[in-house]
């Protein structure tokens, strides 16, 4: 954590805790992650990785502590469309009657509100040509434009993930949160996703990816955050993927949350 303070922070957490009906899922989370980096979040099942993402999207309110993303409080960041989210496979109802194009277009809804005007209050078909054009570009960027009118449930695992990546592209966010984006994804889709994420970070944006895929972490991540009910460590992939660091993180959870 000896980063010079001149670098703007993508994520800043001070003493954050979160609970589910009184059961603590995350405690004493202190993080200062610079922007323009590819950050991987690893840790055992039930360690609070997905909870961390829920806190960052504002879907979950922290029990205590302060949380800022891209230099803004969560509320302001949400209003500014600064954070985009790519959900885990199991979080989505794949029988939902929605087409690929409509999912990607929903990335523009927040931007439509920011632009103002009466169109925002109408159903999406009236959203306007500029939003449609950006939706089309987003689909082309991850090669799903040909699937635009398919129902979301008719796609393969990798194509589904690309749809949600395209939604985040359409949103034009500063920080991209991904929950297991490579689980159940074919080689071709994985390559497209990784290439896009690298290019995104190359443009000074930030990626926070929750994953179990340690080889990809080694190849792509600039920084690794090890989560185990609290932050068990932050460092380079070489440091954090060393056997002793992993051992520490993956064993913490069995002993319960860290004592103060």
């Amino acid at each position: 954590m000896n980063q010079p303070v001149t670098v703007p922070l993508a994520i800043e957490a001070r003493g954050v805790a979160a609970d589910y009906s009184g059961v603590i899922a995350l405690d004493q989370v202190d993080l200062q992650l610079p922007s323009g980096r590819f950050i991987a979040v690893i840790g055992p099942n039930g360690a609070g990785k997905s909870t961390l993402l829920k806190l960052l999207t504002g879907l979950k309110k922290p029990l205590r502590g302060g949380l800022r993303v891209c230099g803004m409080a969560i509320r302001a960041a949400r209003r500014a469309n600064a954070v985009a989210y790519v959900p885990q496979e199991t979080d989505i109802d794949w029988t939902f009657p929605i087409t690929v194009q409509d999912v990607v277009l929903s990335g523009r809804y927040g931007r439509s509100r920011q632009a103002g005007g009466w169109r925002y209050w109408l159903p999406p078909r009236f959203i306007g040509a500029s939003h449609r054009a950006l939706t089309q570009q987003a689909m082309e960027a991850v090669q799903i434009a040909g699937l635009a009118h398919r129902p979301i449930g008719a796609l393969s695992g990798g194509q589904k993930k690309r749809v949600f990546i395209a939604r985040s592209i359409a949103q034009e966010a500063e920080l991209l949160l991904l929950d297991e984006p490579l689980a159940g994804v074919d080689r071709h889709s994985e390559q497209i996703i990784i290439d896009y994420l690298r290019a995104f970070v190359g443009r000074g944006k930030s990626v926070l990816m929750v994953t179990h895929d340690l080889p990809t972490v080694r190849d792509c991540a600039d920084r690794v955050v090890l989560v185990s009910r609290t932050i068990a460590g932050v460092g380079t992939p070489d440091e954090m993927l060393a056997p002793e660091a992993l051992e520490k993180g993956y064993h913490l959870i069995e002993r319960g949350p860290a004592q103060p």
Partner: protein, 310 residues
């Protein structure tokens, strides 16, 4: 001031209701004499219009109930409005107000039990809504005749007055406008609440807004199908439509069609056979569901045909 507004709205509503009734009468005149005969009575025309409004609004809302897996919640709210309806009736307040109050209190109670005990959501719901329903029944049995209780529980569409019809029209209009203007919000919230939150929408407000809409729909349908069967009209049209559609707008149109056809055809048969209107409407809706299920792309009929062809 408020009475002036109320009277103004009532006058405008009545004018429109009369135009709609005239238009319906004109439409029905085209039907064969044997089908059109019952609708020569004004009360049948009013019942028909009320049923159609209920069919449309329930059809639209049922899509969200099915997609959001709120069937049990819909059942809970429909039962929970009963004490409010009874008390409002007793105190001479608007029925809608009482329904919102008791529906809202029950929802808060469910949340409170969930947060403060180890009881799970479905038990908390079942516990609270049956308690509210019981309270409603006790109140009604004290203040009204058993016929009145029957009407609230099972609907009394043939007894719809002009005043009720106007209220139903307004409630239906408000519900449809809300769905139109908040279509995007409801879509994102139903499909992916995390994304809704990330782009700055308030998921809490949308959640309670949708619950309010559901309560409004239920109160609108009280006279027509009654407290006990309204949840059927909030599930069957959406469930039927979900068998055959891949996009939400289309699903809504189909659900509206199912809702309107079942409420009007149900009304007609209930008059012809002299049986309860609410029950007949739900039976027609269920029959449509079974038919669509049989011939839908994944249903047994098409599967048989494909097997023959192969």
């Amino acid at each position: 001031m408020i009475t002036m507004l109320h009277n103004g709205l009532a006058a405008v509503g009545t004018w429109w209701a009369e135009r709609l009734l005239d238009w319906l009468a004109w439409l029905i005149a085209w039907l064969p004499e044997s089908v059109a005969a019952p609708f020569e009575y004004q009360f049948m025309l009013r019942a028909l219009l009320t049923s159609m409004v209920v069919g449309v609004v329930c059809g639209v809302l049922s899509c969200y109930v099915v997609l959001k897996r709120w069937a049990l919640l819909g059942d809970a709210i429909s039962h929970a409005v009963l004490p409010g309806v009874a008390l409002a009736y007793l105190l001479g307040l608007p029925v809608l107000l009482g329904a919102f109050a008791s529906g809202g209190l029950t929802a808060l109670g469910i949340g409170f039990i969930q947060r403060n005990t180890r009881i799970k959501e479905d038990s908390a719901m079942g516990l609270m809504f049956t308690a509210a329903f019981a309270l409603g029944i006790v109140i009604i049995s004290r203040i009204a005749t058993s016929t009145h209780l029957m009407h609230i529980l099972f609907g009394n569409v043939l007894g719809v007055t002009m005043g009720t019809l106007v209220t139903t029209l307004y409630a239906g209009l408000v519900a449809l406008l809300a769905v139109f203007f908040f279509y995007k919000h409801l879509l994102v919230y139903t499909f992916d609440p995390s994304h809704a939150s990330a782009i700055g929408l308030s998921t809490g407000a949308i959640h309670y807004g949708l619950m309010l809409l559901l309560t409004l729909t239920i109160v609108t349908s009280l006279e027509t199908v009654g407290v006990i069967l309204v949840v059927a009209m909030l599930i069957i049209p959406g469930a039927t439509a979900s068998l055959v559609s891949h996009r939400l707008p289309r699903m809504m149109w189909i659900a509206v069609a199912v809702g309107v056809v079942s409420s009007t055809v149900g009304l007609y048969f209930s008059f012809r056979l002299d049986v309860a209107s609410g029950g007949m409407m739900v039976l027609v809706a269920f029959a449509i569901f079974v038919l669509v299920g049989l011939v839908s792309p994944v249903g047994p009929v098409r599967r048989q045909l494909r097997r023959r062809a192969a």
